[in-house]
């Protein structure tokens, strides 16, 4: 296990980063065109009403005071009220977040199932035709925009063949797996292309390593060599890559949710942007940043647990 000291150090490093993250979000929202007070109260609000809203939100205070208010409120879990949905931002986000997390985990599982075996086939047949075919297909996959993959799947598998529902989320777990299959495949096809490429070179690198050649030379069966040495080492790099690609994964999820009308935080972000719902934009941007940092942290811990060389010094 990673030591407590290491975890503490890692958490401590997150403080200045998050301070900057808060500054970026704060500045972004302050630069939004239009008066937030008018956005909240509507065009026909009286001057007194607007003044009251500015007073309540602290919009008439100096910038530094506003920033302080933003930081303290955020730390207390108060992200303001959504203009679009007329509810506390934090509630709205927690309402939609599980859907996005479900979609992301589903997509990660599928991409490992797609990329894992194919990477092995490609690496073991290095520079022969199966390798060439697999790599070409994934190279094309990498060049496809997520929304295009989604649209094609939606048209042929849902609208034409009716194998999958066109939209919705489903109520039970099994229904959900069925409903979310196409969105997850959409994200997974893109992610698996990234994983496949790296996993293939990781496997090749391990296969060429002296300790694996030694294991083979001393007569260990291939299955054991692959399982114990190659797979374990290739897994470390894959999980690390997946963790570091979480930003890409989230970007893909955002677009996919829009294509398939999945009620997650990604689609909410776009709705918030079109509605100029600035407290919601602020809250969602922060949520994405928190999600990514948590995954970065977990990746680090995972890596330092499995690979002592990587431990922060």
């Amino acid at each position: 296990m990673a030591s407590i000291q290491y975890i503490l150090k890692r958490l401590l490093l997150m403080i200045p980063t998050f301070f900057l993250v808060m500054i970026i979000i704060f500045l972004l929202v302050r630069f939004l065109p239009g008066d937030p007070a008018i956005a909240i109260a509507g065009d026909r609000a009286s001057d007194a009403d607007l003044e009251a809203i500015r007073e309540r939100l602290g919009l008439n205070q100096p910038m530094l005071v506003q920033f302080w208010l933003f930081v303290t409120n955020t730390l207390q879990g108060d992200l303001g009220r959504s203009i679009l949905l007329r509810a506390p931002v934090i509630d709205v986000i927690f309402d939609r977040l599980p859907t996005t997390i479900f979609l992301t985990l589903y997509a990660v599982t599928l991409s490992l199932l797609i990329a894992g075996p194919l990477a092995f086939v490609a690496a073991l047949n290095r520079n022969k035709w199966p390798d060439a075919v697999i790599r070409t297909v994934f190279q094309v996959g990498l060049s496809m925009p997520v929304f295009y993959i989604g649209l094609i799947l939606l048209t042929f598998l849902a609208a034409q063949l009716r194998w999958f529902p066109v939209g919705g989320y489903g109520d039970t777990f099994v229904e959900r797996l069925h409903h979310m299959f196409l969105p997850s495949v959409t994200v997974a096809l893109y992610t698996s292309a990234i994983i496949m490429r790296n996993l293939r070179s990781a496997i090749i690198e391990v296969l060429d390593a002296e300790y694996v050649q030694f294991a083979r030379a001393k007569g260990l069966p291939d299955r054991l060599v692959l399982g114990r040495h190659v797979l374990r080492n290739a897994l470390i790099s894959t999980v690390t890559l997946l963790g570091l690609s979480i930003g890409n994964l989230m970007s893909g999820t955002l677009v996919t949710e829009t294509v398939f009308a999945v009620p997650g935080v990604g689609r909410l972000m776009l709705e918030a942007i079109f509605a100029r719902d600035y407290p919601l934009i602020q809250g969602l941007t922060l949520t994405f940043a928190v999600l990514v940092s948590v995954v970065f942290l977990l990746t680090d811990l995972f890596q330092s647990t499995l690979d002592p060389r990587m431990r922060l010094t």
């Binding site: 200045p16 980063t17 998050f18 900057l20 993250v21 970026i24 972004l28 929202v29 630069f31 939004l32 065109p33 190279q139 094309v140 990498l142 060049s143 496809m144 925009p145 997520v146 929304f147 295009y148 649209l151 094609i152 939606l154 048209t155 609208a159 034409q160 979480i246 930003g247 890409n248 994964l249 989230m250 970007s251 955002l254 677009v255 829009t258 972000m269 776009l270 942007i273 079109f274 100029r276 934009i281 969602l284 941007t285 994405f288 940043a289 990514v292 940092s293 970065f296």
Partner: protein, 288 residues
Amino acid sequence: MTDITALSAEATIPQKTRLQLALRKPGFLIGAFIIGVSAMLALMPGVFAPYDPNLIDYVAVKQPPSWAHPFGTDMLGRDSLSRVIFAYKVNMQMAILATVFAMTIGVIVGALVGYYRGFADMIFGRVVDAVITFPFLVLVIAVVAVLGPGLINMYIAITLVGWVYYARLMRAEVIAQMGNDYASAGVVMGYSDRRIIFRHLLPNAITPVIVYWMTDMALAILLGSSLGYLGLGAQPPQAEWGVLIAEGRNFITTAWWLSLMPGIAIVLTGLGFSLLGDGLADLLRPRG
């Protein structure tokens, strides 16, 4: 292109053999061919497009592909092939404008913080950490939300976020290069910092940046068309691949060609840049 020639002169393998090696790779050739054709279409769409891309013809609405209209017509009777061809202008422009400023800023900042280190480098490190904490698309669409939808605002948004990735790469490369004898020699000879950074370190450190730039141009087209699709990038009636796909989305079961064809253009161009990038990586790699 002159930069590239200058760069490779440093390398151990003679320029000619490197080029011959690269030319023997089918991937590099295919990539160069695709990008060459794309650039031609982007520069002179009027020469290749059979019709005016904005010519509305209510008599020929949503016609399937035919000899007269190889990609069919859209809901306003406009010729899809002509619209896809005219979109090359916008999308190829995207590949360049969404990346070139980010690269320039990133290269300069990265070289400076890599050379001077110290306090500025520490701040830079925190900025990188903070920026990569946001999913790229989330930060870009948040900036687009502030500036308003449209192509120019999209370029500004992508530049504001994207330079960090170039700077990070450049910084690491400059630090690596400073370990070499030639860098210390420059200091000993009493050259100015500016001369050492821009005349000596930069040309040697820029190779990975150029290779990344190729990939980034492919990504810029993907990102730009995604924003167009979402309604945050190019705005209709401008012909842009993402916008075209979004326009066809509502008729996807009856007029599938409207969304399918622009997508193929995206995939082809993205593929072209990736293949070209891989080829350049081989061509520019210091050790053969």
